[in-house]
């Protein structure tokens, strides 16, 4: 049986200063583990190496939904001075405004690596697959190729890309069973199954924990072997 935690605070309590970690923060609250991010802020671990998969928070037109309220994005970790290094595909929060990350990057407080989105996804998948590296055609002839080994395969140029793994991964799923199997809702799946596989300790926050057998074997997206800790979002939790 997986460890079911009763609080987010307890689930993140052993994250040390200097840890590397991942969470999804693509577009809006869908798929974003807001409660774990919030608990990590409260814990205060510093010098973190963060993969926000793939940025620290943009929501754009999602704000058109009536009753939209700002959700907890990993940029609160930047604002709180907990981030030392960040790996993003997009640095601006909302067009026209500087994000917390941009301010921190310009002042030299945070070191930033820019990664094309598809490369980001495939580096996570490589990290979750145990491969050493892979050759990718993306970014040849652009700034992205700087410092990368280039190789011609079947007459086409490729760049060597390394896998991404992290010490801790926060996953936002819809349901978990007590064996740690996960299913996701809609497009909030996105980076979450990749994160679950690419971390040494995977912590999932879910809408509901169900009994073993309630999730059909064929509908499970993330097998429980990748999931270490589960917290059910309580009534009034961030969703």
């Amino acid at each position: 049986m997986k460890k079911i935690y009763s609080s987010f605070k307890e689930a993140v309590s052993d994250i040390p200063d200097g840890a590397s970690l991942m969470m999804m923060s693509f577009l809006g609250p869908g798929g974003c583990p807001q409660n774990l991010i919030s608990a990590l802020k409260d814990l205060g671990a510093k010098e973190l190496d963060v993969y926000p998969c793939p940025n620290f928070g943009i929501s754009g037109a999602l704000k058109n939904k009536p009753g939209y309220k700002e959700y907890v994005q990993p940029d609160i970790l930047v604002g709180n001075g907990q981030v030392k290094k960040a790996h993003v595909t997009w640095s601006r929060a909302v067009t026209g405004e500087y994000s917390a990350l941009e301010h921190a990057a310009l002042s030299g407080e945070v070191e930033v690596e820019m990664i094309p989105l598809g490369v980001y996804a495939h580096r996570l998948r490589a990290g979750g697959s145990g491969v050493g590296a892979f050759y990718s055609p993306v970014g040849v002839g652009t700034v992205h190729e700087q410092g990368k080994e280039k190789r011609v395969i079947n007459g086409k140029e490729y760049l060597l890309e390394y896998p991404i793994r992290a010490d801790f991964g926060f996953v936002r799923a819809y349901k978990a069973d007590q064996a740690g199997n996960l299913v996701y809702r809609g497009t909030s799946r996105c980076f979450n199954p990749l994160i679950a596989k690419a971390c040494n300790v995977t912590i999932a926050e879910v809408d509901e924990v169900v009994n073993v057998g309630e999730l059909g074997a064929e509908e499970i997206i993330t097998p429980g072997i990748y999931v270490d800790r589960i917290v059910q979002i309580p009534e009034g939790g961030l969703k």
Binding site: F26, L27, G28, P29, G30, G31, P54, I58, S59, G60, A61, L62, N64, K65, P66, V88, T89, W90, S91, R92, L101, E102, A105, V112, M114, I115, P116, L117, G118, V119, A121, H122, L124, R125, P137, V138, G139, V140, G141, T142, V143, H144, R185, G186, T187, S188, R189, C190, F191, N192, P193, L194, I221
Partner: protein
């Protein structure tokens, strides 16, 4: 100033370029408006790089009660689910692009060169950070890259240039440029002016285009429908 097409009208002209049965990925801005203008007789299967294929209509403000954070596209628009729609993770979404299954991608641009080089991720040549997103990945595998953009900058500077001065997104990838005054094809011999906005002369369009264009023998007025 002479009259030019609105962004919606550029999206309309891009929509006309898409073929029945195509798998199409749409970028931000003008690209995201394209689904509103697909002719009824055509079925276009839209692909979104956050992990959705065959999604339904983009919800409007009148349909706010259906909006769900868990059903969105990569342009941060709320989607309506549709029978036959599939959902997958983001690595899978980019696989479909890399192996060439997504036949067309529609992107915005800051500059396009006469060779079809695309610059669209940073307006500042010296910026250490910027907004790349999926823009570098898309042109690599997609069969056809359509750029929808204004012909010139707000300051009336060239956007269609001999050589891009802004950081490149991908070299030699653009096939068709749809602007607010013209439709231009990128060919091995250079840029070919295929269509012009009524009210504009070829000379006037050439004047706001840095490279010398080849005039298509079949040149015609732009039609939106």
């Amino acid at each position: 100033m002479k009259e030019r097409l609105s962004e919606e009208a550029i999206a309309m002209r891009v929509a006309k370029e898409l073929n029945d049965g195509e798998y199409v990925n749409l970028g931000f801005g003008i690209g995201s408006m394209v689904p509103n203008f697909i002719a009824e007789e055509k079925t276009i299967i839209f692909h979104s790089e956050n992990g959705a294929l065959g999604y339904g209509r983009v919800l409007t403000l009148d349909e706010a009660e259906q909006m769900d954070y868990n059903f969105i596209n990569a342009g941060a628009q709320y989607l309506s689910p549709k029978p036959g729609m599939s959902i997958f993770d983001i690595a899978e979404a980019f696989d479909a692009i890399r192996v060439g299954r997504v036949s067309t991608t529609v992107l915005g641009a800051l500059q396009v060169s006469e060779k079809g080089d695309l610059a669209n991720w940073s307006a500042d040549p010296n910026a250490p950070i910027g907004n790349i997103g999926g823009a570098m990945d898309m042109p690599i595998g997609a069969g056809r890259v359509i750029v929808g953009m204004t012909h010139t900058t707000k300051e009336n500077k060239f956007k269609i240039v001999k050589k891009c001065s802004l950081p490149l997104t991908a070299p030699e990838c653009v096939n068709i440029i749809v602007t607010d005054v013209a439709v231009i094809e990128v060919s091995d011999d250079g840029l070919v002016l295929r269509e012009f906005l009524p009210g504009w002369t070829i000379e006037e369009i050439q004047k706001i285009t840095e490279p010398r264009m080849i005039i298509s023998p079949d040149i015609k007025e732009m039609e939106l429908i």
